[in-house]
């Protein structure tokens, strides 16, 4: 068991994800590592898309003339070409960029708005809190894809350019996520608000803003990495769903996997598999990667589900971590995890 002196480890090992990685063992570590590797491949592909892709996402002809439509995989086109005559591999690689952009915009926007609202609702309480919670509940109960459709209509009118499409998808996802961040943050804030250190800050005469940002907010972020990863994977699914229903981004503006799958629907009936299997697999792998990370974080945060390294077993039922794990970033009680994932 670690001595109290070592409870403050170097910064890098206290960062979310890395901390959990160190903490995990066996199967859980395997799942976390697989998730991280898949996610890393996805991010790297998105960043280096221009270098990796053999052709442009809207390129229809090479030096030897047009690519031709629905060509099976060959040396020139490793994954074949689509009904529209695009190179499947290139659209696959460029598509990761669109997906990553949507995730970034959606997660940042919902994090900022959701956490801010949750902080205000939890800290001040009263009628504002009630109204926010009822509204959040109503939106949470709503089939999210339908809400996304409505928002996509509002934002882009259905047909979109690159940024129009990305914003439409990202903002529709944002609205769906805000209630989740609001709930989690609010629950944490309410818990922390009654702690002694907040009380003492108030006694010293700190203002609301200072207490909220310095004392409460900093201590209420521990479940956020978990929701963040789960939401990132959900963002991809929503983007693909919108694209599949025809609310995607125009093929000449950007590559988007859901749109490609929509166009591949008729190919499937005639036995052309490469136009649907590859973009679909890309979605599955990215969502799988992000979900594995989220799942592992969730399990590691829940003492009932966490598997421990040998020697650290006996404290199972206390819901408290031994030694170094008593770091607030990791020791999450079952209650907050429940709140967290709602």
């Amino acid at each position: 068991m670690a001595a109290p002196a070592s409870s403050r480890r170097p910064l890098w090992s206290r960062l979310p994800v890395i901390a959990q990685l160190r903490q995990s063992v066996g199967l859980q570590r395997g799942m976390l590592v697989t998730g991280l590797v898949l996610t890393a491949i996805f991010v790297l592909t998105a960043v280096f898309a221009p270098l990796l892709a053999p052709y442009g996402f809207a390129q229809l002809r090479g030096p030897d003339g047009p690519f031709g439509a629905q060509q099976p995989p060959s040396a020139e086109h490793w994954l074949g070409t689509t009904q529209g005559g695009y190179d499947v591999l290139s659209r696959l690689i460029w598509g990761s960029r669109t997906a990553l952009l949507v995730i970034i915009v959606a997660v940042i926007a919902s994090l900022l708005v959701g956490v801010a609202l949750g902080l205000i609702a939890g800290y001040f309480g009263g009628w504002l809190d009630r109204v926010l919670v009822v509204v959040a509940d109503a939106i949470y109960a709503f089939p999210s894809l339908l809400l996304a459709i409505v928002l996509a209509i509002v934002i882009s009118g259905g047909q979109s350019s690159l940024w129009g499409g990305i914003l439409a998808a990202a903002l529709s996802i944002t609205v769906i996520f805000i209630p989740q961040y609001l709930r989690v943050t609010r629950a944490e804030v309410i818990r922390i608000k009654s702690e002694a250190f907040v009380e003492s800050a108030r006694v010293i005469g700190a203002g609301h803003v200072r207490i909220m940002t310095r004392h409460v907010l900093r201590n209420s972020t521990r479940t956020l990495p978990l929701i963040l990863t789960l939401n990132a994977s959900e963002a991809i699914l929503t983007l693909a769903g919108l694209g599949f229903l025809g609310f995607g981004i125009e093929p000449s503006a950007a590559a988007e996997w859901g749109y490609d799958l929509n166009k591949a629907m008729s190919d499937v009936t005639s036995g052309i598999w490469w136009t649907s299997v590859f973009p679909g697999t890309a979605i599955v792998l990215v969502v799988l990667g992000l979900t594995l990370v989220g799942e592992s974080l969730n399990d590691l945060a829940d003492p009932r589900l966490r598997k421990r390294a040998a020697g650290a077993e006996p404290v199972e039922d206390l819901g408290v971590d031994p030694g170094p794990a008593a770091d607030p970033a990791m020791a999450t009680t079952p209650e907050t995890t429940k709140e967290g994932v709602r």
């Binding site: 109503a138 949470y140 339908l146 409505v150 989740q180 629950a187 309410i190 679909g280």
Partner: protein, 362 residues
Amino acid sequence: MTTTTDAPAARAGAPRAWAKKPGGSLGRYIAVRALLIIPTVFILVTTVFVLMRLTGDPITAAQGGRLPADQLAERIHEAGYDRPILVQYLDYLGAVFTGDFGTTLSDKRAVTDVIVTFGTATLELAFYALIVAFLVGIPLGRLAAFHRDRWPDAVFRVGGILAYATPVFFLGLLLKLVFSVWLDVLPVAGRADTRSELTLGRVDGATGIYLIDAFKTGDPAILGDVLRHAILPAVALGLLTAGVFLRVVRTNVISTFGAGYVDAARSRGVAERRLLRKHAYRPALIPIVTVVGLQIALLLGGAVLTETTFEWKGLGFQLSQYLQARDFVAVQGIVVVLAVVVAVTNFIVDIIAALIDPRVRY
């Protein structure tokens, strides 16, 4: 899709645990819960209305560019879209309150009529999907819990996550490719063959639920045809939910398995298998009730995609048709009705959960 986060959500067991206060009778809980439907539905109707009006009026959206400006203005005036937005809103609220969700622009049908006609197909699909989810998710979740942290657990859990990670429409396309095109054993799309559909349409007191209507015809060939068409869509949509069930059952069995009363039973010499089957498994099923409720929203969203993939002529398929026709009156109507359905279903599920588990009360 709130999809996933729904999934672990289930662990919460109690909906709105944050609002839970000690005490309170069941009657009071039901009353409070029923009253909560009103603001929920009101907020949803308002949200959808405001959002849809932000884009302008539906007539311009549908006809814009195709009609000369004066005709367009005339039609907008006829439909009342040139009135102040507040008047339109109150008008709309009044209409919704009396069960009138408007008339579609593209085919001039009452939205309620569209919903009655196509809703049954969606209901049928959701029902099949839930059966698949129960049959696959619950036993596998139990097995995964029993073999916790050994390879079967790993396989099932990754399977569960895969089921979640695969978009329903991609799974649908894969199933079509394998079973309809390559193996040629199941139909590609639709709810029944054209011949069966004609017969089903003539059934006395047709319900629109093909399974029931097929039973009424008494013709095993038609029944078989209807079921064969249902397999792929049901599996595509059901596996998504099955993955969620698997996770919930696994987590709950694991936590009940570590409970004191199970330890007590073990010390009395009850066999491990019996412990799992009788002591740990049954209480672990209670949260499933809540999960089913949360899944309704997910199922409806998934149904839109599944129906589009399989040309299953239900509400979701119809919705995507109206979307393509840019008929936003129809879209708004269908979305609002689905939202109401979800709100009411959640209410019913919460009540059932409260009846089963006395801890789930306000």
